[in-house]
């Protein structure tokens, strides 16, 4: 509700239950975007240590090395975020800049099925999901093989 706290409203805005697949996609896009921003900040802090000298950089690498396989798993999650955010971003560009996949204005005919959430949009979303999942699994195997797990 409008009188709820900002945190409650934020969580509510990311809750896609009872809604359309585009809203699920929206939630995933927001979450992956936030993860990527946090990663970029962390990455900038990491590489900033190069400017502090070889000892500082070595200490940073040692700190990351202490994470063990968690570092690789973290990178795998980041890779998934990059793939999804990028691919879904392309779909949103087609929608928002070029007005594609939305259908044309038309006379409403019952039962109402909005064309902007129609077949074209579904195909695009499921294609993105399939392609991103495939690449992500491949990336996972690559990373896990590097760890000697697979």
């Amino acid at each position: 509700m409008a009188n709820d706290s900002i945190w409650k409203r934020l969580i509510s805005s990311l809750d896609p239950r009872h809604y359309n697949i585009e809203r699920w996609s929206y939630t995933l896009h927001r979450i992956t975007g936030v993860v990527l921003i946090l990663f970029l900040i962390a990455h900038m802090v990491e590489i900033f240590h190069i400017s502090l000298g070889p000892e500082s950089w070595a200490a940073t690498l040692a700190l990351l090395g202490r994470l063990g396989p968690l570092e690789n798993i973290g990178l795998w999650i980041i890779a998934g975020c990059v793939f999804y955010h990028g691919a879904n971003g392309l779909r949103l560009l087609l929608n928002q800049v070029f007005g594609l996949l939305l259908g044309k204005p038309r006379m409403p005919v019952y039962p109402y099925t909005p064309t902007s959430l129609g077949k074209n949009q579904r195909i695009a979303i499921w294609t993105i999901t399939a392609v991103v999942s495939g690449i992500w699994i491949w990336a996972g195997l690559y990373i896990l093989a590097g760890l000697g797990i697979v």
Binding site: Y19, L102, L117
Partner: protein
């Protein structure tokens, strides 16, 4: 519903100071929609339950509420389609609650006004003293008619995740109506209206979750309107398009009905000639 003769209705109530969920067990005799159910509660169980209603046929847009997690019109939501033994009813999200299921619609009205929801013409006298109608083709009508069916029920605003985060966002209703007039062949306020929506809390806050179109009971499809308007706005920013010439006022359709011809015409003779 599960074939039972009774159903449990849970209503999220508010009395100005506190919120709570209240349950009612109601017989289903004579009940089709959720609005029927609410009326039955008010008639038989609790007179203090507050909700809006008017036409009972999905035209006035008064009975919007969140039913089992999704914003819907209570009069158009059949109990059978919910397929649940418990019906949860809450006031619409993203609007201040006044009492029980009644929410304040001030921001809906204010945002609607902000986008100038009327035909703008270069010459104002063409609106107020137009001698004839504007020339609009069937194709021209199709460009805006879908968006004209908005009944201002507030469901799209209740569903919009951007309004949840940014209460100052113009919202899908107002933006949808901005496009309705933008697409109208009679309108000449193309640049003026695009300026209005190109704002920090305007059109670019929409990230196309599509929830507005998903819950719209009239197929207005605000999400489509907003994305198509973004395309128009980009054309304006890139100077691909600078304005829009509105439809012309029609020429007299039947010249033999002009003032001069009627004056010059011989008086009517009702006698049947030989």
């Amino acid at each position: 519903m599960n074939g039972s003769d009774e159903i449990i209705l849970r209503v999220r109530r508010f009395d100005g100071t506190r919120e709570w969920w209240q349950s009612y067990q109601i017989g289903l005799t004579g009940v089709t929609s959720v609005l029927d159910l609410l009326n039955k509660v008010r008639e038989e169980k609790d007179h203090t339950l507050a909700f809006r209603q008017s036409c009972h046929m999905g035209t006035c847009g008064s009975c919007g509420m969140v039913i089992n997690g999704k914003p819907r019109l209570a009069c158009q939501t059949n109990i059978s389609e919910l397929d649940a033994g418990v019906v949860n009813v809450e006031p619409m999200h993203n609007s201040p609650v006044i009492k029980d299921l009644v929410v304040g619609l001030d921001s809906l009205i204010e945002n609607h006004k902000k986008v100038k929801p009327y035909i703008i013409r270069g010459k104002k006298e063409e609106i107020f003293y137009a001698p004839r109608e504007f020339e609009v083709t069937q194709e021209g009508t199709t460009q805006f008619l879908q968006f004209d069916y908005c009944i201002m029920c507030n469901l799209c605003i209740s569903a919009c995740p951007t309004v949840t985060i940014d209460p100052l966002f113009l919202g899908p209703q107002a933006l949808g109506q901005a496009f309705r007039y933008l697409a109208d062949p009679r309108d000449e306020g193309w640049a003026e209206r695009l300026e209005l929506v190109d704002d920090d809390h305007g059109i670019w806050r929409c990230h196309f979750a599509g929830a507005c179109s998903y819950v719209c009971p009239k197929d207005v499809d605000p999400a489509k309107a907003i994305q198509l308007m973004k395309k128009e706005l980009l054309k304006k920013r890139l100077l691909i398009r600078r304005g829009k010439k509105g439809a012309e006022i029609t020429e007299p359709l039947q010249p033999h009905f002009t003032e001069e011809k009627l004056t010059a015409a011989p008086p009517l003779d009702f006698k049947r000639g030989d």
